[in-house]
Point group: D4
Chain length 251, copies 8
C-alpha cells in the first residue's frame, strides 16, 4: 500500500472520520490480504491469484451481510458485484449502500469502480425469452470484468433459421456463452458451427421431467459435439468468469 | 373359423399328424380367442382389437418359451415376430423353430407370413452409427406390419448439414421415427422442420451422466418443439407400432 | 404479401396510425419470416414448416412479454394461443390485450382468428377429476388447431366399467389423447382396446412417491401395450399438437 | 424340550454319533432360543413370535453359510427354506446338505419338514411369462407355510379379457398376491375388482426407464385403487409371508 | 332399488322437491351403477365389488367438486368420507355441505351414515408426535369402515422401552398399521415381535436426505423382517383400507 | 426420587399448586422413566442411557406441542433444548413458556438448567457466511451439553490461506465439526490436516445441481481423506451430539 | 482438391489399385464435404468449422465400424483418432488397420498424420493414481490436436502439499485440465489458485454413494470457486478439445 | 533421519545393493516428505499430520501399482495396508510382494510392521451374515492402527433379543462401529442404548429398492437417534479410522 495513502488513512482514523474496521478493510484490500468482518473473511488477494475479484453470492445472505461485504470489497477502489439478489433484498441493501446500482434484469447489485483491462469480446447467446435473466447475469458479469458483450437472444433450435442468421457475430467473438433451458440442445448445435471456447449454461426453465434445469444440464454434458463445457444451472456468473478466463489476452 | 378348415384340422389330429396343442392354438388364432400354452396365454384377438398382432418380447424369456410362443402366434398364418433376442438365444430358438429367420442387425427373429395391408411410408432417422441396432428394430417391425421404410442414418446435430440434405425424404413420409442417444437433440431439431407425426426413440448410447439413455429420453420429453412424442429407451419396436398407427390409411 | 395490403400498411405507418414495429411484425407474419420484438424473435414461418403456428408458453414470461408475443403472433390474422397462464397473469395480459379471451379451465389465453382447415376428430380421455385442467388444455389446443374434440372424463382403472361403456366414442376418433396421474395405468389399458394413434399425458396429480407425475410418466413409457407414445408431464398442449399431426388429413 | 428326547440326544453326543454343535442347535431349535453358528445367530424363537420361521436369504451368502444355516434351522424338525439361490450355488449346497431339494423354478432350496397348520388359500396372479420366477418363489413360500396356492399366469392388462375370465378363482381366495413388472398396472385393476387382502410384488422385468422394477414398484405404491399394499421388487417370499399373515385363521 | 322408495323419489321430483340430478344419484347409489356429475363419475358399485365405498381424495379438487362428490356418495345413506382436506377447503366445503363434519386432526371431512358391519380391531402405532396427523387419518378411516381402533403413539426406536411396554395391545389386534417418518425403522422392529398382518405407512416427516419420506418408504420396503407391506407416503387412508381387508371376518 | 422431595410435591398437588400432569412429569424425570403427555411420551431415561437428554425437533410440531414437551423435559431441572424453530413459532412457544430463551442465530429455544459436566473443547468450522445458522445450531447444542466451543467462520476452499491460518486452533480441540454447503470440499481438506475426530455437516446452501445440500453430503461421504464422518444435511444438532460423544472424558 | 492429385487418384482407380469407395472418401476429405460409408456419414468439414476434426467414439461401435471410419478420416492425410477402445477391440481394429497405433494407457487408437499448428501448452492435473487413464486420454488428444502437455499426477486434496509444490508448472500453462474422482474437490481448490481457463473432468473412480462419478461431477458443477467448467464423466477427450479451444492462439 | 542410517543406506546404493528409487523412498518415509513413484506420490507425512498412515485403496489400481505403493509405504518400517483387493489381484500382488499377507475375509493385503501405540477398544457390531466382509475390513484396519477389537455378529433388528444380550460388551468399548445393509435400522436402535461414539457403515447388501446400499445409508443419516455418524457404503476402512480417532487416548 502506498505509504502516503496509508498515512492519510490513519490520520482520518485518528480524527474519527473513518471507523477502524473500515480502515482495516481498506488496508487489506490494497495489500491483498484477508479482512475479517462480521460472519465473513474477505479474500482481497483473489483478484491477484485468479484474475477475478471476490463476488457476493447473495441468495442466502441477509441484506446486512450483503451490504457489509459489498462495501468491504469495494473499499479497494475497483468496484464490487453481488448476484442472485431478489428485488426486496436489493432495496434493503441499497438503503445501506446507496452507491450500489440495482440491475434488475440481471438480479444483481453493482458498485462501479476503476476500469479493468479489456478482457476480449464475448457472445452471450440464449435460446428463449425465459432464459433472459440468466443471460443478463452473464452479460453484466462479463462487462464488470472488462469484456465487451454481444447479446444474441431467442434463437432456440425449434426455429433453426433464427440461429443461422446470427452465426457471423458469434464466430467472431473471443468466447461464447450459450444459455438454454428445456432440452438444452442449443450448445450442441452451436458447438458444431464454431471453433470458439464455448461455455454452456443450463437454466431452470423447464417443467415436468425438465423441472429445475437438470435435464438441460445433463444434455449439455452429454453433448455429441466436442468442446462443450458446462457450469451449474442458472450460473450465468460462473460462465462469464470462465469465458473471460478464455477470452482475455494472455499477459 | 372356416368349417372346412376346421374339419381338415381335426382329421389331421385324428391321424396323429398334428398334435392337439397345436390344433388348439390354430383354432384360437383363427377365431380370435386366447390360447393358453406353458407359462403364457396367447392373445390372438389383439390384432383385431388394435391392428397389431402380439409380438414376443424375448429379453427375459427362455429359448423354449420364445419358441413356443412364436409357433403359437404363427399358427394363424400371418407370421410372427420376436424382439430383443441375443445372438445365443436366437440360435437356440432356431434349433426349435427352424422356420424363424434371425435378423441380427435388429436383434430379432421373424417368421414371414401372409402379407398385411399397406401401412404407409415411414422414415426411420437415426443420429449416429451406434444407434443403428435400434433403428433396424424399428425398421423391421414397420416392415413386418406392412409399411415401406426409408432409412436415414448418421445425421446427428453436431454436423447439421448432413440432416438438411435429407429433409425432402423425411418430409414426404407418412410418419417419422427419430432415434438418438447422448443428448437426444435430433427430434427437437427435426420437429421444427416437418409437419409429420413424429415418434422419438432415445437409445442407451451414452456414458457418464448420459449412461442408459435417460438423459436422451428426458431431453426428448422436454423438447421445445411441439409435437414430439416419446417411447421408452431402445424401444424401436414400440415406435414402429406407433408410427404405423399414425401412418396407415383409415379404414 | 399482397402488394396492395403492403402499400396500405405503409401509408398507415406514414400517417402515424400504425407503429413501425407493429407494421414490421405484420409484414413478417404475412411473409413467413421472423420478426424480432423485445426479448423475442417471432417465428412466423413455423406454421408453414410444421403445420402448427408458434404458441406462447407463458409460465416464465412476464405479462408484458406474453402480451407482446400474443399480439405479434395474432397480427397475421389467424389468432394466437398462450398456455400455462396463471389467473393473475391472465388478468394482467388482458389489460394489455383486451381481445384475448381467458379460458380458465385450460389455464390459457386465446385470440380467435380465421378458421383453420379441419384437423380430424380427437378423443380426450382423462382418468380423474383432478386431471381435468390438463385435459382442457389439450382440448382447447386441438380445437384451436381445427380439430373436433370428444371429452371422456373420470374413467380411471379403479372402476373399469366406467371406461368400457365409452369405448365406441374413443375407437371411432381419428386419434386419442389419454391423460392420467397417480400410477398412470389408463393408457396401457386403453392401448389394448383400440387401434387409433394414442398420445399419453402424465399429470402432476400424485403424492408421496408419485409426486410431480414422474411415476405416471415412467409407467406410461414402460407400458406393456405397444403403440403408447408419451409427452412431458402436464403437457396437454404438446399432446394435442401430436394428435393433430396424426389425425389431420394428409394434404 | 422333551426331557426324554434331550437325554437321548446327549447320549448320542456321548457316543460320538452327534457332534456337539449339532446337538446345541437342536436344543435351541426345540426350546426357542438363539443358537450361534459360524457368522450367524439362528433365531429359533421367530416362529413363535411371528408365526413364520427364519428363512435363509441366500443371495450374498456362501454355499457353506447357506448349508450351515439350513441345517441349523431344519434341526427342529419343521423343515427349512432358502431363497434367491442361483443354480450353481444350489448345486454346491446340495453337496453339503443332500436332503435339500432344489426348486429351480423358484430359485429356492427346501427341506421338507413336519406339516404346518393350514394357512388358507392364496391366489398368486402374475402379469406375464417373464414374471413367473417371482410367482413361483411366492407360491413355494406360501405352500411351505401351510397355504393352498392357486396360480393365475399371464393375465396382464394389455389383454384385459384374459384377467376377467379368471376373476372367480381370485375372488374366492383368502388373500391375493399380484405380481407384475413393466408399468405394474395389474394390482390397480385387480384391487378394483375384489375385496380380498392384496399384496403387490413389482418385478425387475423392465428396460429403459423401467429397468430394475422401480417404476412398477412406484406405480403400485401410487395406485388409485385403495387397499393395494406393496413389498420390495422381486420379493415373492415377503409377499407370501404377508399373504399368509392375512389369510390364516386367527387362533 | 326398493320400488316403493323409487316411486316416492320420483313423486318428489315431480313436485319439485328433489332435483333430477340428485334423484339420479340416489337411484345409482341404491342400484350400484355409476352416476355422472360435473367432472366426475361416481362409482357406487365399488362397495359391493371391493368392500370399501369410494372415498374422495380432496387434495387437487376444488371445494365445489369435493362438495358435489361427497353429497353424491352420501346419497345412498351410508355416509361419505373425504381425505387430504386443508383447513380452508374444509370450511368452504362445509358452507356447501353443512352435514359434513371436519375432523381437523385427520385433515378429513366425514358424513356419518348407517353403521357398517364390524371390521375387527386395528392397532394404529406411530413413531413420533409429528406422525400423528397420518395416524389420525388411518384411525378415522378404519372407524368409518367399521373397525375398532387402538392408538399407540410416540413409541419410536430411539427409546425402545416405550414400544415394548405396549406390545400386548398390539399383538392382540386383528391387524396393525405402523406409521413412521425419518429412517422408518419401527415396522422392521415390530414385525419381528408380532404375527399380525402389518401395513407400514412412511410419512413425509424428515429433512435433508430424508425429506419427503422417500427414505422411510424405501427402508420399509427393504425391511429384513418378513411380512412388512407398505403403502404410499402419508397414505393413512390406504393403510386403513388394507388393514380392514385383512382384519374383517370372512363372509 | 428423593422421598422428601416426592412428599413435598404430592402435598403441592393436594393444595392445588401443582397440576397432576406436571407432578407426574417431574416424578418421571427424576426417576428416569417415561412420561406420557398429549401426543408424546417423554424419554427421561435417555440421558442416563446415552449421555444426552431428549431434545425437541421442532420442525413439524405445533407450538403447543413444543411448549408442552419443553416444559416436561425441563421439569427435571437440567434445562431443555428445542431446535429447528422458525421465528414465528418461537414467539408462540414463548407465550406459553416464558422461561424459554430464543437463540435466533441458531433457530433454537433453550431453557437453561443446572450445569452439566465439562464435555471437552469443540471447534466448529464453517465454510461460508451462508452456513452460519447451522454452525450456530451446532455450537449452541455443544454448549448446552457442556462443551467449550471455538468458532472458525468463512474459511472455504476457494481461498485456502484463510483456513491455513486457523489450523492451530482447530488441531488443539478435542473434536471438530466442519460445516459446508455447495461442493462440500472443506472436510476433505481439513481431515488431511488434523488427527482429531471430525464430523462433517453438509448444509442446504447450494443451487442448481447442488440444491438442498445432497451434493455436499455425497461429496463428504465420498471423501478421499479417511476419518470423515457425516450427519444429515443441516443437522448441526446431531453433529454436536456426535462430537460431544467423542470429546468428553471417559467416565 | 488439387487437380493433379485428383487425376492421379482417378487413374489409380482405373487401374484397380484404389477401390472406388476409398477414392470417394479421399475426395471428400480433401474438399471438406461429407462422405457416406457403411452405417456412417463422415463429416470432413468439421475441422474447418470447429478447428477439431471428427474423432471416433469407439465404445458402441464394432471393430469393423471403427476401422472403416478411422481409415475414412485418415484419408485426408492429417491422421485420425479413436477413443474408448477396449483392449480386445483395439487388437481387432489393428488387424484391419495396421497403421493404427494402440496407446493402451489412454485406451485409444491413433493414426499419426501431418503435424497441426501449435495449440498452446496444457497442464493435465490429476488427483489420484486411479484417474490416470482419463488423464492419458486427455493428454493424447491434446497432443493429437497440436498442444504441448504437462502431466501433474497424484496431487489430491488429502495431501495438499503435493499440489502446492507443482503450482508454478500449472499456472504458466495456457489452459488447465483437472481430473478427479471420489468427491471431486481438486478443481475447486485449484481454481482458487490460478487465473488460467480450467476444465474439470470427473472420473468414474468412486464407490458407494460416489459410484460412477456422479458425485464428483456434481461437486465440480457446485464449485464455490468461480470459473470451473465441467465436461462429462471420464470425458478426457472433450476436456482436451475445450482446453485446446481456449489455449490455441487466435488466428 | 538418523545420519548413521542415512550413511549406511547411501553406501548400500553405492554398492548396488539398493536401487536409488528404493533409497529415495526410504529417505522420504523416514523424513516425512513425499516420494514420487510411477503414477503416484507417496504421502509419508500423513501419519504425522493425521495419526493414520496412507493406506492403498486397491479397487481401480493395477497389481503392479498396488505392489509398488505397498512397498513404498512399508519402507518406513511401520507396515502397510491395502483394502478392496479382489482375490485374483491379491495373488498377483503377492507374486511381487511376498511379505504381504492376504486377509481374504477382509479383502485386504497387509504387511505387518512395528507395533503402534494402543488405540483403545472398538466394538465392531454387524447386523447380518452377509455384512461380515465389511465388518472384517473394519476390524483389520482398527487392529492395524493399534486398537483392540470386539466382534458382535448377526444381531439385526428382526430378532432384537440377539442384540440386547450383547449390550454390555458394546457399552464398555471406547467407540462402536455398526454395520448393516437392507433398511439399516441397527445404528438407530443401538444409538439409543449407548453413550459411546458411534460410526455407522451401510453395506451394499440389499436388493430391489435397497440395491447398492443407498437406502441403508440414507436411513442411517436420517436416524431419529442423535449421535449417529455415517461413512460411505461398504467403507469399513473409513469407519475404523474414524473410530480410532475417537477412541485413542489424547496425547
Amino acid at each position: 500500500m502506498d505509504p502516503e495513502r496509508l498515512r492519510q488513512l490513519l490520520e482520518a482514523v485518528a480524527r474519527g472520520e473513518v471507523r477502524p474496521e473500515e480502515a482495516a478493510a481498506q488496508v487489506a484490500a490494497a495489500t491483498g490480504g484477508t479482512a475479517p468482518i462480521a460472519d465473513a473473511v474477505l479474500d482481497h488477494a483473489r483478484d491477484a491469484r485468479t484474475g477475478v475479484p471476490e463476488v457476493v453470492l447473495g441468495e442466502w445472505k441477509t441484506a446486512e451481510q450483503v451490504a457489509a461485504i459489498l462495501q468491504g470489497l469495494a473499499s479497494g477502489g475497483r468496484g464490487a458485484l453481488a448476484t442472485r439478489i431478489a428485488h426486496d433484498k436489493a432495496d434493503a441493501v441499497r438503503q445501506l449502500v446507496p452507491e450500489a446500482e440495482h440491475v434488475a434484469a440481471a438480479r444483481a447489485l453493482v458498485i462501479r469502480g476503476a476500469p479493468r483491462p479489456h478482457a476480449g469480446t464475448i457472445a452471450v447467446v440464449c435460446a428463449g425469452t425465459s432464459d433472459v435473466p440468466v443471460a443478463e447475469e452473464a452479460a453484466l458479469t462479463a462487462e464488470f470484468l472488462g469484456a465487451t458483450v454481444r447479446r444474441v437472444t431467442d434463437v432456440g433450435v425449434a426455429g433453426l433459421h433464427r440461429l443461422l442468421g446470427r452465426l457471423p457475430e458469434i464466430r467472431s467473438a473471443d468466447a461464447v456463452v450459450v444459455i438454454a433451458g428445456m432440452e438444452g440442445a442449443l450448445p450442441s448445435v452451436l458447438a458444431g458451427l464454431t471453433d470458439r471456447p464455448l461455455v454452456a449454461v443450463p437454466t431452470s426453465v423447464g417443467y415436468g421431467v425438465g423441472v429445475g434445469g437438470f435435464v438441460a444440464m445433463a444434455a449439455m454434458l452429454s453433448s455429441c459435439a466436442p468442446g462443450v463445457t458446462v457450469v451449474n444451472i442458472d450460473n450465468g456468473f460462473g460462465a462469464a468468469v470462465a469465458a473471460v478466463r478464455a477470452a482475455r489476452p494472455r499477459q
